[in-house]
Symmetry: D3
Subunit: 268 residues, 6 copies
């Protein structure tokens, strides 16, 4: 009968499916790593250095196991990729501490670094992006995207793991932020909720081209602004106002504001 | 004393509350169903067809139990509604595979169908909407809304289960998308993050009227666009640019772009 | 070797970290409290008043324990703060029932209060804000922010716990809403998705000043509107249209609409 | 077919079964109570008196709930029985501390009271018996037997909850000990593994009669001894040697030894 | 170093180990089956026949999976063995209900069948033996022994799954009972704690011979009795007294009592 | 009131209690260790040597943590004791493999080594005894006794961790076996269920003396035998029959049998 045929179809799809790392395994690994990297996120206090080291080794092993799951699709062996990722980890950790300091310095409502690391979705999104970006650089499939979509779900902030982002990056509030795969962002950039750094138009043929904008150092982009196009460059030390819509480059030190509000009708 | 009175008040509210399906039970059921429908989402590999069939039967039983919980508010018996839903499931499954293919075909950053089904919030939101819509059509209360708000929480995409959406529907990024109860969307439509398909104004009296727009086949709506009103029809093969604000119909093959950016002040 | 040095560094950071309430403990407490306050959210039916009272006492004890964790940073003893919070709880509960009624009255798609309380992210965000605001008023550190960021993650609605919000507040859809620390909102206000009530510009020095707008009674603000600045006052009984950008006050009974749509190019 | 008929039969049995307290619920309650009564058994250190009191109240509530499950079979209301049990608890607790001291005083291998309470199966069996006996005295069905069979499974010591046992009772090693329903044991009695205090013969008609022996104060009974019969009285200050088989009374200060060993053949 | 060599050795042992069904999986399956067969043991009330049937199917599937784990050592296919076991299940179930009735009829302390099935270790041991015996008869390796040793651990009753036991079998108290592999027991037999039905001497060469006694119908064996040898037959309607040591046959209607007690010294 | 006073009393006892390793932590550690040492007991197959090594390290750390819990009562530092225990582990492991082989060789019903290690309570008891004995030798308090009482509860076999037991030790069936603290057992000894190796009489003053018997090499002791006294030596190559009661030494090559059965009355 029809139900049996449907179950057959599902079973064949399951039987033929490629092995991928278990979704919950990837997210648990990420969660564990963040808790080791940042005491502010930990539920547990390590009784000894040795306990922490043991936890760290477990995370290494779990990463190896996740990579092994899709060994046939990896550009190198799981062991080489694990080692390469871990060699980068102290650098990523140092970058994230700089990000946290920058967020604290820039937000009047932020009380201390503990609050930033513990509660700011912008920090969480940057942290996961920086880890995912390392896997992306190493050519690991699927895991970078699982990581960034996981934090997208939690924070509403959608940073493609392929984007290149400089030091001391701040995202405030963050819901609705979209940062595309070929975006380049310099140092000391700050963006607010609802900012899109996207493509002008989208076709499958564009996969290998730079189709998203470049943001130079010390740019601030206020909420709801949209900046599109692979040739669009926002010059350093510029400020892009809220709700601005930009599809062409602006030179350094620009101030771009949306003036739409003067055309509102006010009836009282 | 005051605390005792407050506890009394809470207890009376609990005692008098209508029975509703347990929130976590509904979400667990959904999760289990998605893992059976899509191997890309599964944590587990079925050792045999029989194991999958057993799992499928369990999902049927769990659905029956959820429906039974609110038997007195159902338009038919729980058994009839369960059967009606399950008869539609192969069709919904086929529609979702078409959605996944359309997303893959349209996104340069998408690597393969596994990545789309596994990680794209747009796909997740459509999948849950299509399942919720079936319950809505059957007149089942509460469950459709629990389902769509669950995926809204995960994806930032808010599709009312009453909306009518055609084949091969794509949502990219998706955070902030709102699709109202009486929206009609044709085939091969694509929308981006922050798009609102809403009502012009909102009063309780409008509950039974069509108050949200109609989008015909092959329309693309870029990020941040807002389209409002029950009489607003976007003609087929139109493109609605980012941040556009539309409260009236446009004919087929329209290209509607927001020109606001020419009115930005640039100081350098 | 390098790895050992990195582990040392992490261990020192963990050893020196200030004790903070366990993240999952705070969220579990919140979850439990909401389930006691609203039968619509409960998984469990209390067999007797005594069982509910026992659960209530457990929540009190858990709150005390959370507060005790950071005793050295509290403005009063944990016991005093617990008592002060609990004395306010019946009032907060009554306010939330008013919020739920207002949401039901204003949304044509809403079927009954159960659906509103159970599934509306806007109600969830307001509920958590009102609880967090009490802790904020009492000077409790960190917990208010943990609570509001938790619901921000679930709903995409970011209300700072310091904001002051009147009775019968409605948020519809809600994704992307941002309400800043020094916002004042009157009674019977309704806002839609993507509304920002923010600051004109942001520097750390502004921490103690009113830098976010005031919204008077009976104002409606449609989706995507942005209202900025500490001196901006939206007069009572005003309507702010979708996508409006406002950085100056408007008088009572204003109707402010965005007319941008007339300047769209339509090619057919 | 046959399987369907069997499933029908099982379902009818389930449908018609009387409600009894969930087995795991009874054992969890016991476990929790023992951990409150004896810090030596606890996994957890109470941070405050209030936390312990809260835990104590929860145990009271859980007991009430267990009793309520079989309300129609109780001799009084669940609330009355709960109160009656709890009024006896301090006395039972004091008796158990005396038991622990007596075990420590009598066993050369015992190091301290912590070891006795934490690890001695004899102590565990006595503790559960004394609690079960209180329920038996109150006429509560089923629970006394669930408790004593639970500890029988853990310790190999089978004490019927109806037995009457005096102060400072010691069981050493204990596996295989059987103490029947109508046994009377005085103060300061000590018994070893494999001792049976049973009935001479067993027929259903004997249910209301005293069919098991009486052991007076300060008697020691070594391993493997068997003492049978409702009229058998072991006089105070007697010692019953290992493997002795007794079906008649002995006067006070008796020394009863088994001489069987002289009749062994030794071939070398 | 030495530790590395030890870890190597352990790893090789793990790598080379034969696959066996997971211990906890076997015990969970048993537990689930007993709860379906006997409502007295269930934690859960089935809301519908369908729910029970679903649970039953799951148990079938789990059995199949357990058997499949060691497919290469099975005498038939896993599917054939599963079917053969399940065909016997109604018969085993009927036998167990007879056992429960016999225990109730014979024990003055037993209140009702619920108490017997729920709390009597003798019933539990017989139930597991009867299930294990079916697997033994089918030639399934390892599982029969895992089952009987599991209940041995809980009850102190050690019945080899190869033993042949008739209808209405009672074990009272039970701790220390040992029933060997080639024992034959008739109908309506009752035994008490500490009874051994064993071999006279034990060498590996005896594996295929009948080396344990035969007990005919309606025999009662009191506590601590030891009956040894493959040629030893206890004639029907006999009573074997407590602590009796028997290595030879006795005719029907025998009364065998231990008289050792007359040789005790009594000093008063 | 009285209840408050009782809660006070309990709280003071909890507050003043010495810290001891959490009961469940000790048992979980033991369980994990046995699963690493014996693949026959494992639920899990190690995917790589590295995973096993990681698990092994975790067990080391957990042991350290358990020991640290009672640091002030240890004869050496926790680190020294952990190291000393682990240095002995390969030797203990090798002894246990010899025990398993001896059990297999001696039991006609045993099929293979997997069955022995997986299901025989005698093997389980010896394994835990040998591990506990190492802690006892190192002077670690409480843990040895927690371990042996845990396996006593599972197997009904009570071996004091202080006993000294040679190579290739077999216990068959085992329920009711008691082996005292100062027992010495040679190589190739085999004992059956219900055997007691105990003290003649018991007073606290005897704590430092040898009060339990010595069993030389290649002795077999059948079920229910009792051997008592610190000066009792069973000469090598002796056989002690079932139910024998011995309080004096026997020379090598003795055969000691219980003849009690000739004095039974048989009425037919």
């Amino acid at each position: 009968m029809q139900e049996q045929a449907f179950i057959d179809k599902l079973f064949h799809a399951h039987r033929d499916a490629r092995r991928i790392p278990s979704p919950s395994a990837v997210c648990n690994w990420l969660d564990g790593l963040l808790k080791v990297l940042f005491p502010e996120l930990a539920d547990h206090r390590y009784a000894s250095r040795r306990e922490l080291e043991q936890h760290y080794r477990q995370l290494k092993l779990d990463l190896f196991t996740l990579l092994e799951t899709m060994a046939e699709r990896l550009p190198k062996t799981a062991a080489e990729l694990e080692m390469a990722f871990l060699e980068r980890l102290p650098t990523v950790h140092a970058l994230l501490l700089l990000d946290a300091e920058a967020i604290l310095a820039g937000d009047p409502a932020a009380v201390d670094k503990t609050e930033v690391i513990r509660t700011y979705p912008g920090f969480r999104a940057i942290a996961v992006y920086r880890l995912a970006h390392e896997f992306f650089q190493l050519g690991v499939p699927l895991i970078p995207r699982i990581l960034t979509e996981h934090v997208h779900s939690l924070s509403g902030i959608d940073i493609h793991p392929g984007a290149a982002i400089g030091e001391r990056f701040c995202i405030d509030h963050g819901t609705g932020v979209v940062i595309g795969e070929t975006v380049h962002i310099g140092n000391d950039v700050k963006i607010y909720q609802g900012v899109t750094l996207g493509a002008l138009s989208v076709t499958k043929e564009m996969a290998q081209t730079k189709r998203h904008p470049t943001i130079q150092d010390r740019v601030v982009i206020y909420s709801g602004a949209t900046i599109l196009g692979g040739n669009t460059v926002i010059g350093h030390d510029s400020i892009i106002g809220g709700n601005v819509w930009l599809t062409q480059s602006v030179p350094p030190y620009s101030r771009v504001y949306y003036e739409g509000y003067v055309r509102q009708k006010v009836h009282s």
